[in-house]
């Protein structure tokens, strides 16, 4: 393992601690960590495999995305986390197509890896930020903030936690 793997794991733990009171936050962190672990393990497995590594990353992110869409309720999950995961799936899809079919042009491995890391960090910032807002809302700390800041936090918190009421297959048998 490299230092950037440890950095990502540390960030995930910090985001999880911040989002301890937010429903399903730990679930998404665990799902993304599992997806990351599977794709990185596959990358370092010995021997050439017939499924390219971006394909594995794509399928792992796709499964997490489907889980978010099925089990997520709030806007921050469906629109925030879901959008980031879909960007990640699309990036991996393009990289897989480039590896196999030669189109679109293949990104350098470093650029592709950095782009995925940025998406992962953005997802962790989103989860940690919503968790921090929830913690502040639930405690007396919010009284120490000036009124405009409290108002802004209320607006953002209400927007993030508004239900999407989307129809999903497992709720519509």
């Amino acid at each position: 393992m490299h230092w950037y793997h440890f950095a990502l794991i540390g960030s995930a733990i910090i985001a999880g601690l911040m989002a301890g009171k937010t429903p399903r936050a730990w679930l998404w962190i665990a799902a993304m960590a599992a997806s990351f672990a599977v794709s990185v393990t596959y990358l370092y497995l010995p021997g050439p495999w017939w499924l390219p590594q971006p394909g594995i990353a794509m399928m792992c992110d796709a499964v997490v995305f489907l889980a978010v869409r099925e089990m997520g309720r709030d806007r921050w999950e469906i629109y925030g986390l879901g959008t980031l995961l879909m960007i990640s799936v699309t990036l991996s899809l393009m990289q897989t197509a480039a590896r196999i079919a030669g189109f679109p042009p293949q990104l350098p491995s470093e650029v592709y890896a950095i782009a995925l890391e940025i998406i992962n960090y953005l997802a962790l910032i989103l989860i940690g930020g919503v968790g921090l807002l929830d913690r502040i809302e639930a405690s007396d700390v919010r009284l120490h903030f000036p009124r405009p800041a409290r108002s802004a936090m209320d607006t953002i918190g209400n927007f993030a936690h508004r239900q999407t009421n989307q129809k999903t297959p497992f709720q519509n048998w």
Binding site: W50, V89, I100, K167, P169
Partner: protein, 102 residues
């Protein structure tokens, strides 16, 4: 001459994996709303990807390598539902032609 002991790749397995990947991709990009739709699309896309992978291989002139079979089945699995929808609409339009006729 040294005998080639390389195991023959299982192309059916590769096509099945590719077709399932393609079906999952199509579910990601176009949300199903009911369980019936989810099952219908998953089964249809997987089968179509498995069966029609050769179309993509022929159409794009790819060499018949494992990765190309995987990509072809995934591609056909991903676009199968879309193509079926287009075909259904075309057939309905043809069935109701000329406009106004019963």
């Amino acid at each position: 001459m040294i005998p080639d002991n390389t195991p023959t790749p299982n192309y059916d397995l590769i096509k099945a994996v590719g077709a399932i990947c393609g079906a999952i991709l199509s579910l990601v990009y176009d949300n199903p709303h009911t369980m019936r739709e989810l099952l219908a699309r998953a089964v249809f896309s997987s089968m179509a990807g498995f069966i029609f992978a050769f179309v993509a291989i022929d159409r794009f002139g790819w060499a018949e390598t494992m990765q190309h079979w995987l990509a072809a089945s995934a591609l056909m699995g991903a676009v199968a539902w879309l193509l079926a929808g287009v075909a259904t609409r075309v057939l309905r339009a043809m069935n109701s032609w000329p406009p106004g006729a019963k």
